[in-house]
Symmetry: C2
Amino acid sequence: MKIMKASYNDLVTELKNKEIRLSHQRLMILKYMNDNRIHPTVDEIYTHLNKEIPTLSKTTIYNTLNALVEAGLVRIVTLGDKESKYDIVTDDHGHFKCNSCGNIYDFEIKMESLGSDELKDFKIHKKDVYFSGLCPHCLKKKIEN
Amino acid sequence: MKIMKASYNDLVTELKNKEIRLSHQRLMILKYMNDNRIHPTVDEIYTHLNKEIPTLSKTTIYNTLNALVEAGLVRIVTLGDKESKYDIVTDDHGHFKCNSCGNIYDFEIKMESLGSDELKDFKIHKKDVYFSGLCPHCLKKKIEN
DNA sequence: GTTCCTGCAAAAGCTTTGCAGAAGA
DNA sequence: TCTTCTGCAAAGCTTTTGCAGGAAC
């Protein structure tokens, strides 16, 4: 799936619009998520950024992500794991999780076409589509063995 | 959405087929889930069944649900809450969660029509569709105030 | 008689909270 | 200067684990 990365300036502008202070930690976290579209966990973000900011704490990552979710810049992706995964909000897309390697793949999906007459009186804010199974790589491995 | 309830005998047969011992606790838990299609949490199951089985422990509920998930009789519904919710496996359906009252509504959805060319080399085991927003009841309340 | 299950207590793991010092506006 | 943020330590919650007694087969 094609991924549009925002520029650093776009991110700064977004934060300013949402009245979120531009701390060094927040900018680093947002930049990491923008550059690495891997639906990271808090721990993954921590492990990566700790090299550059040794004083960084997980509390700050939790605080920042909660603020970004609140502001609508980031989404929590719940795929049945204990740890939450986070995703920069982009166009509508589904998530496929490989049960073997654990990787998550994005795929395009037309959310408008998703619906039901039963929901005609409901106000729908968010549509999530989660698939799971085996990715091509793990599938090939399984067939070979 | 129309819900098909299994008979008590059907449940017993299912358990026997899966080689899960028919303990009193397990039968009570499964019966509760079959009779009350409310996607209960462990705590809700516990609170309800504790009246009938005062010695029941949450550990047993966790053990039982894990066994039922393993056997494919029950699904975990992850809707972004801390607590997991559990659903007896039935036909394909989507879940709508009301952000105001927290209730979960089932709705019909044709899972076959869901897909993407990007996933043609993937082996898909499970398709989940989660919507969220406001249910008619909470929507009405909001408009009135 | 075996094997598996129950339930208590304790542990494990993720996330939140309280708060003093630091940094952003 | 004033407000908000950071990061440490501790607490809060859900879920899992170890294990002795008990129930299912």
